[in-house]
Symmetry: C2
Subunit: 401 residues, 2 copies
């Protein structure tokens, strides 16, 4: 049992302060976020699989892998501190150290993260002045300001929180995220920072996060690209004194809520995908196994031909079938059934006597569910993608990311 909280965020969780400010890395918009827990937190993270990893990502990945407690997450937008070599690494460590000193905590308690332009050195004086300011502005309600400060080409901030009724009491999970281009799953693929006041042992927290990310952030696609900086971090401060342990009913209840908030954040990233006008759910069923279903869902979600057809509200089921076919998964195309929402578009043996106007009407909506049943087994996978529009091209032809 869980319930989304109105205007929820990381600060909906007990003992979590945050803020977001304009430090000056970007010309106008907010560009520095800080999330701080009153109590030391167990922490779990997932990180980009890109071989090119940004300096702050390397620092945070190592820190989190050590299994120690953390207290803070410092994030800037406007500069990725990626491909910046030794100087980038020392800049990252300096930011971390400076922030820990201002907070009066240990350097190893500060997770750091950056997003923005690749290949430029961090303006360290701006970062430091920004840290000086933001530390004084931290409070128990400004999670949404942090959500705004981590945006790059995002048009809206992404922030949610859920109250979860466990068998032993109530806990809260809050989260913020940013997209919006360079989204293509495979481990963490964008930024998301989540907090909870549940008490969860570190290794188990990691397992919960990985499973949740695999069904949410790892199943979305905007353009098939994967960034150098992407990570998802979940901090558990235990302030509620309510435990979530493995193989208990609480595990199930907590995971369900964690997955729900992760999926909402992930879907919001897709909705806010660069140039996107539609959210498309790709639901694969009837595969030999879940892995095959996932491969097919990914192939369809990443197909420019499928994504442009949906942009044009064109009921081009041939492109969907063809995108499944090029995935490398073996299946019998003549058994495939395709539905748009509840309307059958393709039946077995390529039957497709559907009403074109009705199909166009469905595809003209803001949210569309495309179901593909391979009628071969019980494997399934659901992905979320967006349409591909002229605006994606415009944004990316000129933006120096």
């Amino acid at each position: 049992m869980f319930k989304f909280i109105e205007n929820g965020s990381v600060t909906s969780v007990a003992g979590i302060k945050a803020s977001g400010i304009h430090a000056g890395i970007k010309r106008k918009r907010k560009d520095l976020a800080l999330i701080v827990s009153d109590e030391p937190c167990n922490v779990a993270g997932t990180f980009t699989l890109n071989k090119v990893k940004a300096a702050p990502l390397l620092v945070s990945q190592e820190l989190i892998s050590k299994g120690g407690k953390v207290r803070a997450i410092l994030v800037n937008s406007g500069n990725a501190n990626a491909c910046t070599g030794d100087r980038g690494l020392s800049d990252a460590l300096e930011s971390q150290k400076y922030c820990s000193e201002k907070l009066g905590i240990d350097q190893s308690e500060v997770v750091i993260s950056s997003t923005g332009v690749i290949g430029q050195y961090m303006p360290m004086h701006i970062i430091k002045t920004g840290i000086n300011s933001i530390v004084g502005l931290l409070n128990y309600t400004d999670g949404i300001k942090a959500a705004k400060a981590i945006m790059t080409t995002d048009l809206v901030e992404k922030s949610f929180a859920v109250k979860v009724q466990l068998t032993t009491g109530e806990v809260t999970i809050g989260g913020i995220a940013k997209g919006s281009g360079m989204i293509m799953p495979n481990m963490a693929t964008m930024l998301s920072f989540m907090t909870t006041d549940a008490e969860i042992e570190t290794n188990f927290l990691k397992k919960l996060l990985l499973n949740s990310v695999n069904n949410s952030f790892n199943k979305i696609s905007v353009d098939g690209d994967t960034s150098t900086n992407d990570m998802v971090v979940l901090m558990a401060n235990g302030v509620s004194k309510i435990k979530v342990e493995e193989n208990t009913e609480n595990e199930e209840l907590f995971f369900e809520a964690l997955q729900a908030i992760s999926i909402e954040l992930a879907k919001m990233i897709v909705v806010d995908g660069e140039g996107a006008t539609k959210l498309i759910e790709i639901a694969i069923t009837g595969c030999n196994n879940d892995d095959d279903a996932n491969t097919i869902a990914r192939s369809i979600s990443n197909s420019p031909l499928v994504k442009t057809a949906i942009y044009g509200s064109d009921a081009n089921w041939g492109r969907i079938l063809s995108a499944a076919g090029k995935s490398g998964v073996d299946f019998d195309p003549s058994l495939v059934e395709i539905k748009f929402d509840d309307m059958v578009i393709l039946g077995k043996n390529y039957e497709h006597e559907f009403d074109e106007e009705e199909a166009t009407a469905i595809l003209s909506k803001k949210e569309i569910k495309i179901s593909i049943n391979l009628n071969a087994g019980s494997g399934s996978s659901t992905w979320w993608t967006c349409d591909f529009t002229e605006n994606y091209i415009k944004i990316n032809a000129t933006y120096r990311s």
Copy 2:
């Protein structure tokens, strides 16, 4: 030693007739092509890896796999005869049979191929009327008409021929091809039909074709999609009486020419890619091995972020490096060097003190070479891709392929 022939085509080869007509499958443009050899030919083919295979592709793939001789290639555009089930298969066989009867040859001597809309039955009366007409129009000069008749969203026909000086005399290779969306390599990925008057044993012809396709048609990318109908077929009629045999100097000379014509056809497909304004050569060197180089080249060639940046003439080397990084290949990013034409954009240790204006000037050209040296080994691979523009979206949002 080889030389391209002005206005060359499949009919530049001795003993090859062809034509291309408007049969009526499409509203206005030519839509039916026929290539016929006076003498029976050895034949080799490569076919799409898409699990969804069009009926004519299945028929031709089986026919060619049997190793027998062929005399003709019948191709229509406007209708792919894909996802058409049993009726599609019987339509394909009927076209093949009808064509063979009109030519007075065996049904097994006719290769058939289709491209166009998926999921619609072939208008058999139009095909038959078309065959009746085209058989009477065949001649030794109209290869370019055939090239025009296989076009779909292509803006220009693709047709070349080369004269090859072998140690034992001169032979000719001619070829036509069509693109232009749904191009993403992995075995054959578009249509191309080639002819030669050299005398080449079937298994060896297959080896030559496969190697040539791997360095040309399999190394181009327009949008990362792979079609249900794509194939490359090479017919050798032996009319020159000049043999090309394995492990001879002639092999080397012939292969060099076959690869050159294949690369020219492949590059022309990229240049004519849907909405493309620029041809981009992606040359990877210094990899641990050729496979890794190929994987990295593919990843960069297919990256929407790289392709949109080049459209915007934005010297965004970070996206190139990031696209290499997401390929799954292990490498040290700090050793990577990137050049645009002869200009160093990125040196080792992420050095990038280049002149932005000069870089923009290079990226504003119609043809750009991007070289990426990983400085790790001697593996290399060259791909060709195009930029990604608003016109790609426009064409594909409305075209029912």
